[in-house]
């Protein structure tokens, strides 16, 4: 009998060193669980995330990309997340415009004290991606017929 394999999504989370990365730590030390499918990449600030990073993550097989930064107004560098907010809004809007499922990309603001929020966000995002299934559209937008 063939075994039906459960879909295991690949999720990349870009986490700001000063907040959500510590938030993930807190979630761990508070024994709050979040899916092991989430691969965290530490960045010095959400403003460090170049739109190219997100697309590269999809290239390397990610099914969903989430960016976690400090709450607007609480940036360690004062304004980094404000710039990130504008950039990501525009990029996500463009991906939606091109017909890529809009649920695959997300931005959440998680502080270092919000371990519970971190685990909730990741559980929910992972659930959403599981529903969407494997990301094929982005790789298919050209020359694949």
């Amino acid at each position: 009998m063939q075994e039906v394999k459960e879909f295991k999504p690949n999720i990349v989370a870009f986490c700001c060193n000063w907040c959500s990365y510590a938030g993930a730590d807190l979630a761990g030390s508070s024994r709050l669980s979040y899916p092991a499918d989430v691969k965290i990449i530490r960045v010095p600030c959400s403003g460090r995330v170049n739109p190219m990073f997100i697309l590269k993550a999809f290239e390397k097989g990610a099914d969903g990309v989430i960016i976690c930064g400090c709450h607007p107004g609480d940036c360690h560098y004062n304004t980094g997340n404000f710039y990130a907010r504008r950039r990501m809004t525009l990029l996500y809007s463009m991906l939606d415009y091109m017909g890529i499922e809009k649920g695959r990309t997300r931005v959440e603001w998680v502080s270092a004290a919000e371990g519970a929020k971190f685990s909730n966000v990741m559980n929910k995002f992972c659930g959403d991606i599981k529903e969407l299934g494997e990301c094929v559209k982005l790789g298919d937008i050209r020359c694949k017929d």
Partner: protein, 326 residues
């Protein structure tokens, strides 16, 4: 238009003779009337091959980027829409304003030869715009066609005949064509379902041959080294580092020029596969206008663009991620 060509030519000769400028960046006659190419005219080359007709749609601002390290002074001929790009280049310090003499030239809308040909007209030898109509002279005789049917894509959404920056104007009295709503097609796409939009873009982008013409013609794309240049390939800027580049090129290209794009339409004009690339840029323009207030790149020099700026009440990206419907 012939009168204007003569006027510009005379003035250009005068500027070169007086030594006020060392070169003029203008359009050179091609093999046919409909294929003028941008060229640099100097005292040595003379202006015999100079032309300015209804097919001179190319935006010449970008040709100054390579001259930034030169201590020579260049005059450049700019149509009203090209002056937006010039302002943007000055803002970004990609050109040296002191070494540029800007001659604003009048424009009555430029024509797309492909559109004329698609209307079954071939063997074109001359055109003249007569109000709403274009008289096309061909080797088979004369035909008349509606001007609105054969305008370049960028001229259909013309922003008027005001030059945003210039040192002198020639023929500014020419009437530019009536503009239609430039977001019409973007709105139409937005109203489609995600599947339809995906099919639309897949159909368009699959034709791309990655010739990089859109990147090379774009006045906002001025990085000396581009992320899509692959130095190790030995054939710079032509070979892809991975298949992924093929897919992502257009998203990244459009994102990189967002908020700096003056919507000059060069990307679509130069595309050999007629991909409507301006629709990507225009989506960013529309989003920026909607989310962060009306903004026109290149309206004046030294503006601060919305992506190097922020507001504390900006909308959150989750608005997009959680959007209802298609």
């Amino acid at each position: 238009m012939q009168g204007l060509e003569k006027k510009i030519k005379d003035r250009a000769i005068e500027l070169l003779e007086s030594g006020k400028v060392d070169g003029i960046i203008g359009w050179e006659k091609g093999q046919f009337i409909y294929d003028p190419t941008p060229a640099v005219f100097t005292k040595e080359t003379g202006l015999d091959n100079f032309c300015y007709n209804n097919f001179c749609g190319a935006n010449l601002s970008k040709y100054l980027v390579g001259k930034i390290t030169s201590d020579k002074k260049y005059a450049v001929l700019l149509k009203p829409c090209d002056t937006y790009s010039m302002n943007q280049l000055i803002t970004e310090h990609r050109v040296n304003r002191d070494n540029i003499y800007i001659i604003g030239v009048g424009c009555e809308g430029h024509l797309d030869v492909e559109k004329i040909k698609r209307n079954g007209i071939s063997g074109i030898t001359g055109v003249s715009v007569d109000g709403e109509n274009v008289n096309v002279g061909t080797i088979y005789g004369e035909s008349t066609i509606a001007k609105s049917d054969v305008l370049l894509g960028k001229c259909e959404v013309c922003r008027g005949n005001a030059h945003k920056i210039s040192d002198e104007l020639i023929g500014e009295e020419l009437q530019t064509p009536e503009a239609s709503d430039r977001f019409e097609m973007v709105n139409k796409l937005e109203a489609m379902t995600a599947e339809e939009r995906f099919a639309f873009w897949k159909g368009e982008l699959s034709r791309c041959i990655r010739c990089n013409a859109c990147r090379n013609a774009c006045p906002a794309c001025t990085c000396r080294v581009c992320v899509f240049d692959n130095g190790r390939s030995g054939i710079d800027s032509k070979a892809n580092a991975s298949e992924f580049e093929e897919q992502m090129f257009h998203i990244i290209r459009a994102f990189h020029v967002s908020a700096r794009c003056t919507d000059c339409g060069e990307c679509s004009r130069v595309c050999p596969e007629n991909i409507p690339l301006h629709l990507l840029n225009r989506k960013y323009v529309k989003d920026i206008n909607e989310f962060y207030g009306e903004y026109q790149a290149g309206e004046e020099a030294d503006q601060r663009n919305p992506l190097v700026n922020f507001g504390d009440k900006d909308i959150d990206p989750t608005v997009i991620s959680d959007k209802e419907g298609n």
